[in-house]
Subunit: 215 residues, 2 copies
Amino acid sequence: MTITITAFERSPDGGQGLARDTRVRWALEEVGQPYEVRLVSFRAMKEPAHLALHPFGQIPTYEEGDLALFETGAIVFHIAERYAGLLPKDANARARAITWIFAALNTVEPPILELSTARILESDKPWTKERLPLVEDRVRNRLHQLSDRLGDADWLDGGFSAGDLIMVSVLLRLRSSGILNEFPNLSDYVARGEARPAYKRAFAAQAAINKPPAG
Amino acid sequence: MTITITAFERSPDGGQGLARDTRVRWALEEVGQPYEVRLVSFRAMKEPAHLALHPFGQIPTYEEGDLALFETGAIVFHIAERYAGLLPKDANARARAITWIFAALNTVEPPILELSTARILESDKPWTKERLPLVEDRVRNRLHQLSDRLGDADWLDGGFSAGDLIMVSVLLRLRSSGILNEFPNLSDYVARGEARPAYKRAFAAQAAINKPPAG
């Protein structure tokens, strides 16, 4: 059955790979599954046809036969559960890898989302200059803890897993802030993720859609 | 094998059931599994013994034989996967229920966490009065979409699932803000969750720990 995902017709990041379809593309590349992409405009994302697929009007979505899913974490987990390559076979190791998916999305990403909100949605507010350092410190607090746990390991728990795929993707959102560079082992961890051939293919595929028109 | 979870020695909410151990207790009650609780103080949560179990120094954790997990979403998913009662048997319905776990934690909860941060951690800041309505509107935006999807159904996708357990738990954090009452179908949805015998047992168990000393 054909797998079809959705992605931005034009990504707000201009093809830096930060839109969430990159996470799903990466997972599909890791497990070697081909996929098709349907591009949606910002306007179409808020219309009934897309809302039927994604109640929060976002991308990506995932369709395969009569299965339709939304929410990046759920899609990546579904791919990891269905195809070999992103979760260990041992039951306990598998449960721990899944733990890192949730930790990335529910413990590490929320302060990073808050930082994005402060820097983008609230950039014109009078309080933002004074408030940003507080928000950045909440991000740093999480990164300190994550850095301590990772230590000098390559990945969070044994071999590369879906947990690392999501964690690296979450940390990539921090690069432009400079905060990631304060934690050399996390910066190296992210670089290891980006060096994977599957990541490179996923990145290239989304970049190709977002390249500026020729001429 | 005995299941042992951790909880606050004294919950910051004074026993309103908003600490995340309630979510895990609720899941264990739904599937009928007994469990033991080890209480940890705020100081102990930041010490090496607890950090070995939970790298972000939080509760709850989950121990069962040689398996140790952290992160509420992962623990609830593990319970749902291991014991019957929280996930449908049909593969597609199961994937959709898991989608709601992720949607609750990564799409609905982040703006609610941001609201808590604004109201608690930044309550003394000069910008908070002017900024709060913006944060509340970001919460409302998500609730509108969730309310539209739920419609007049009892649960998010067919029967009660782990997705509803987490979504109800996330929405409960909003009650004190009054925002939940602006969405009657969501308010009823949360009430249906609270009316479940398993929720009531979970709530009572955490409240018993946090009751004020007699006298």
